[in-house]
């Protein structure tokens, strides 16, 4: 059951990610990226990361992608112009890519022998309570620094949005 769920959502994620790269219109890319993020949220749930799965849907698929779609609509971004590809790229691109991915999968398989198997419920330390406790004890300083980072980002976005640069 876990394998079937993993395969379904992994295939959705990979197909949507390929779609992000090959679509010429930015809106199509953005919608595909939302698909990737949604299926990754399901995989997080499979890994026992409930809080991260919720944050993924709310922050990434919600806030960040709305910002992207808003800017695409605001700029009225059209389809990207096609560029001519050389014959070598057309003939060799896909086979070389597949060979590279096969090699990659082989080495990952070698480097991580299957001592640990993932099954739903195998790790229950990812609840909001556990994440919150770690966030406000061990990782309190990074958390406070993060608030400063967000403040700087807000000020930067406002300045960039107002000022007329040369």
């Amino acid at each position: 059951m876990d394998v079937i769920l993993f395969l379904i959502f992994a295939i959705i994620a990979v197909v949507a990610a390929i779609n992000v790269v090959v679509q010429t219109h930015p809106i199509s890319s953005a919608v595909s990226l939302i698909g990737v993020m949604g299926s990754l949220a399901i995989l997080y749930l499979l890994l026992g990361a409930e809080f991260i799965a919720a944050a993924q849907v709310i922050v990434y698929a919600g806030a960040v992608m709305v910002l992207f779609v808003f800017v695409i609509m605001l700029l009225n971004a059209g389809a990207e112009a096609k560029r001519g590809r050389s014959l070598v790229v057309q003939l060799l691109g896909v086979p070389v890519l597949l060979a590279l991915l096969g090699l990659l999968a082989y080495f990952v398989e070698r480097a991580f022998p299957d001592s640990v198997k993932v099954h739903f419920g195998g790790f229950t330390g990812g609840s909001a309570q556990a994440v919150g406790r770690a966030l406000f004890t061990t990782y309190l300083l990074p958390f406070e620094v993060t608030s400063l980072l967000i403040l700087v980002a807000i000020v930067g976005a406002i300045v960039l949005g107002r000022k007329e640069l040369d």
Binding site: V3, S29, L33, A49, Y60, V64, A77, A105, V116, I154
Partner: protein, 102 residues
Amino acid sequence: MTEVPISWFLTLSAVLFALGVAGFLFRRSIITVFMSIELMLNAVNLSFVTFSYQYKQVSGHLFTFFVMVVAAAEAAVGLAIILTVFKNRATLNIDDVDSMKN
């Protein structure tokens, strides 16, 4: 067999990261390049959560959380930069934004 090997998650993460790199290198629209960066960040997040499962510790989730926060701040500033570039140059093609070349 109802359990997923941990290497499958890592391979998926690597594949998504490679696709993000490909988009970053080959696309010419500044917005799509930016979305490729988000795709790479998502792939790394999957690795963090997977290792968190492997070692049965919550730290990986915290790193993922911080990556999300940084990505949100980066998206806000980056999209403001894109708006400014478009306001000044009326183009979204990254090959046309080359004023620091000369």
